[in-house]
């Protein structure tokens, strides 16, 4: 049994929803250019928790260094898409 690869849109929606919940910000605030730390007040513990939750949800292991260097929601979406091989 193989799990279908989610689309980029589905990944984007899931990331936005998870970030909004963890940061307690409105969904509208979680746009691709929003910075995780500066705009969404996600500290390192929350970012780890965010990554752990998304890895579990998408059944994927994200590489540590690129995750540690993430700044924005858009970069996170791109990283997950590339790890999953997601397409439009």
């Amino acid at each position: 049994v193989t799990t279908p690869i989610p689309t980029k849109a589905a990944i984007h929606a899931q990331v936005r929803e998870t970030v909004a919940r963890l940061s307690r910000k409105a969904l509208e605030a979680v746009h691709p250019d929003a910075r995780l730390e500066e705009n969404l007040d996600l500290d390192s513990v929350k970012v780890m928790s965010l990554i752990f939750g998304l890895e579990t949800h998408f059944a994927v292991r994200l590489p540590d260094r690129p995750v540690a260097e993430l700044k924005t929601v858009g970069e996170l979406v791109t990283l997950i898409c590339s790890q999953l091989g997601a397409t439009d």
Binding site: V45, V47, M48, S49, F52, V67, A68, E69
Partner: protein, 183 residues
């Protein structure tokens, strides 16, 4: 008198009563804990003395750092209530900590806990059950918040991680003050 205390007195005598280097203090402290029955691996730094009434039930792996104020509880004090109908009852449990673990300040590690290798236990956590290898946990009751490998990578890229550890105290203080613009 335990071997630890003897070593400590010997150090004081040899050093003319000057406070020992913290590494030497740590070594003596670990010797003292081993004499009490705590099993401790190599390369550990232990800044707590709280190993409960059954220290021989605690086993600590190699390269483990345990901060001050952390308590290892090898029994459940609520057995006090059970003793009303079972006068000699005690509820006990081993505590096992794997290799390459960092345990923060003021944690409580409960009886029966197994902490895997390469784990980080956040300050103030109350830890019970089994913590899988490679996880960062925190809170009360503690919960997994992420992977240790990611935690370390994030620490590595953080601009407030600076290379001052092996500096002499005055040099280190100056460097830290400079970094944080502290007057």
């Amino acid at each position: 008198m335990g071997i630890g205390r003897l070593l400590s007195r010997a150090w004081k005598a040899l050093s003319g009563g000057r406070p020992a280097d913290w590494r030497e203090k740590n070594r003596l402290h670990i010797e003292k804990l081993r004499a009490r029955g705590v099993r401790i691996g190599q390369g550990c730094f232990i800044f707590t003395d709280e190993f409960s009434t059954e220290p021989y039930l605690v086993e600590i792996g190699d390269r483990v750092a345990i901060s001050g104020g952390t308590t290892f509880l090898t029994h459940d004090g609520a057995a006090f209530l059970l003793r009303q109908r079972r006068p000699n009852a005690q509820h006990l449990g081993r505590i096992v900590v794997g290799n390459d673990v960092a345990i923060g300040q003021n944690c409580t590690i409960l009886a029966g806990t197994r902490i895997g290798s390469s784990c980080v236990i956040g300050a103030g956590s109350v830890v019970r059950g089994t913590i899988p290898d490679g996880m960062v946990v925190m809170g009360n009751p503690c919960q997994v918040v992420g992977r240790t490998s990611l935690y370390l990578e994030m620490m590595d890229v953080n601009p407030d991680t600076i290379d001052t550890f092996s500096m002499k105290p005055e040099e280190r203080e100056a460097a830290i003050r400079r970094h944080f613009a502290a007057p």
